[in-house]
């Protein structure tokens, strides 16, 4: 039966004499593998050499602070709602006087916890955050855990360290697109060096 005019018979089951004789095909195979034997190895020696993770890689979570070191998160809970794994939980609190240098908005997350074993790194929280507070770092991933007690990460691990700030080329996809366009047009040339291709 034929439904379209696009079909194409591909399977040829007739063997030629050469194919019947086993040895030519085996010799071809051996030649191919021998070629690979002497080829350059592609292996990335991981713990010593790290692979470039891509500009938008979704790795470890971070709660950004703004330039003055104030936490951006306002505990609106959109990330928690957007999380398909229900891995994020938080407790909101009102900012009191004297804390203006700590929190940017009047409301802040007193507790912000991510269950790192539940998290599926889908990036929906980053997308949902209206305050650009939560990000998935593109340069780092979560380490392995040896114990169940370590897996819920609180603010102590999530909030950005001001001495070692996390930077990115572009914070939103729109910025990334604009940057990419500029780069494609040759307007930006500071190509970030890559670890490995």
């Amino acid at each position: 039966m034929q439904l379209t005019n696009r079909s194409k018979q591909v399977s040829n089951k007739e063997m030629t004499l050469m194919e019947r004789a086993y040895l030519p095909a085996i010799a071809t195979g051996l030649a191919i593998t021998l070629k690979h034997f002497f080829a350059k190895k592609v292996t990335i020696q991981y713990p010593e050499v790290k692979r470039y993770l891509g500009p938008v890689f979704r790795g470890r979570h971070i709660l950004k602070r703004d330039e003055d070191g104030k936490e951006r998160c306002t505990a609106c809970g959109l990330c928690a709602v957007a999380c398909p794994a229900e891995a994020i939980s938080m407790v909101a609190a009102e900012r009191i006087k004297g804390e203006e240098n700590l929190y940017r908005e009047e409301k802040y997350a007193a507790v912000y916890e991510v269950n790192m074993l539940r998290c599926i790194f889908c990036g929906l929280c980053e997308e949902a955050c209206p305050k650009q507070a939560v990000y998935l770092r593109h340069d780092e991933f979560i380490p392995v855990f040896s114990d169940r007690d370590q897996v819920i990460w609180g603010k102590d691990l999530l909030v950005e360290d001001m001495n070692n700030r996390y930077t990115r080329e572009a914070w939103t996809k729109e910025e990334a697109r604009a940057l990419d366009n500029k780069r494609a047009n040759g307007e930006v040339t500071n190509v970030v060096p890559r670890a490995i291709p």
Binding site: L23, I26, G29, L30, I32, T33, L34, H36, F37, A39, K41, V42, T43, Q45
Partner: protein
């Protein structure tokens, strides 16, 4: 028996034994490295420089792994299986001629465990027994996958032994001797049997693949079908023995291939080298150095064939059981018989003709 002779023999046997073991041990490392290199990977390189301590790590791990015997298994035979496999594998290396002779203080020592006038038959007998280890172990495990593996191994080994023996007969007809030492010395220089017996060589190497249970004939243990085949239930050093036995078998068959078809320790121009060496170093030392070179050549050949085994393993797919049997009985055996006829005809008619023509 004279005491010195006894001591010399003991030392020779011990050296042969140790050499076989070390080569088998490093074959496991080699296999992993070769597999890695063929597949564009690095292979083990963390345990020691270049992963050279990998076999020791494996051995160390296996010795200290829990020694487990399944509850429903037949205890004695479960232990006997790997022991038999190891035993038969090691036995075969006794008659391999590793080199010509060592001269020392008037003694002349043959670099061979046992010089026997039925050497090749001995190898054959031992190889024929090799299947018992697998069968007994596979049966004793009381596991269907193991049993299937054992049964496959048994039928495969028996079938391919026939073709192997027939392919050998051509060689025996040419050399009219069963002694491996004799066969080697007949191939003096570059006069290797491979030039006279290419077909026999192909049959023999195919069968040796089957005898060692290597791809494309690794049906007794093929992972994707039978989990681990006959050694599914084996852990710790018992498994180690099985794996080890496989590599020893591989070394032995590589050695036998190089002895039978590639002249063992012979190489082209060895007479010239011998004369140069004896002239330069004196008859005794020169002779010994020449022997050493010959032994090195022999090991080079054997190692190449070990590499060849691995190379093939990581290249081609494996047969199905019935195809394997078809190949063995319907293709290789007739071919081997044909080879015998050709050889017989050639020795009877062609040889006198050529000799007459040459004269």
């Amino acid at each position: 028996m004279e005491l010195t002779e006894f001591v010399i023999k003991t030392i020779t046997i011990f050296v042969v034994f140790v050499l076989t073991l070390v080569i088998a041990m490093y074959s496991t490392w080699g296999e992993r490295k070769v597999a890695g290199f063929i597949q564009d990977r690095m292979g083990p390189n963390r345990a020691g420089p270049g992963g050279l301590l990998q076999p020791l790590a494996d051995a160390g791990k296996m010795f200290f792994k829990e020694d487990f015997i399944p509850a429903l298994a037949n205890k004695w035979l479960f232990i006997a299986g790997p022991s038999l496999a190891m035993l038969t594998a090691l036995l075969a290396s006794a008659v391999i001629p590793f080199g010509s002779t060592f001269k020392w203080d008037g003694h002349e020592v043959v670099l061979q465990g046992v010089e026997s006038n039925i050497g090749i038959l001995y190898v054959f007998g031992v190889v024929a027994l090799g299947v018992y280890g697998i069968m007994v172990g596979g049966w004793a495990s009381n596991n269907k996958f193991s049993l299937l593996g054992a049964i496959r191994a048994a039928s495969q080994n028996i079938s391919y032994e026939v073709a192997m023996g027939l392919s050998l007969i051509a060689i025996l007809m040419m050399s009219s001797s069963l002694s491996l030492g004799e066969i080697v010395s007949q191939q003096h220089g570059g006069n290797w049997n491979i030039f006279y017996q290419p077909l026999g060589f192909i049959i023999f190497i195919t069968c040796s693949f089957a005898e060692c249970n290597r791809v494309p004939f690794d049906l007794p243990e093929c992972e994707t079908e039978l989990v681990g085949g006959y050694h599914t239930e084996y852990g710790s050093m018992k498994l180690g023995f099985y794996l080890f036995a496989e590599y020893i078998n591989m070394f032995v068959s590589s050695a036998i291939i190089s002895v039978l078809y590639f002249g063992g320790y012979n190489y082209p121009g060895m007479d010239w080298v011998y004369n140069q060496l004896t002239a330069a170093l004196g008859s005794e030392t020169g002779h010994n150095v020449a022997t050493l070179i010959g032994t090195a050549v022999f090991f080079g050949k054997a190692l190449f064939f070990i590499f060849f085994y691995m190379w093939v393993r990581w290249t081609i797919p494996r047969f199905r059981y019935d195809q394997l049997m078809n190949l063995g009985w319907k293709k290789l055996i007739p071919l081997a018989i044909f080879n015998i006829i050709i050889t017989g005809a050639a020795t009877l008619f062609l040889k006198p003709l050529i000799t007459a023509w040459l004269n």
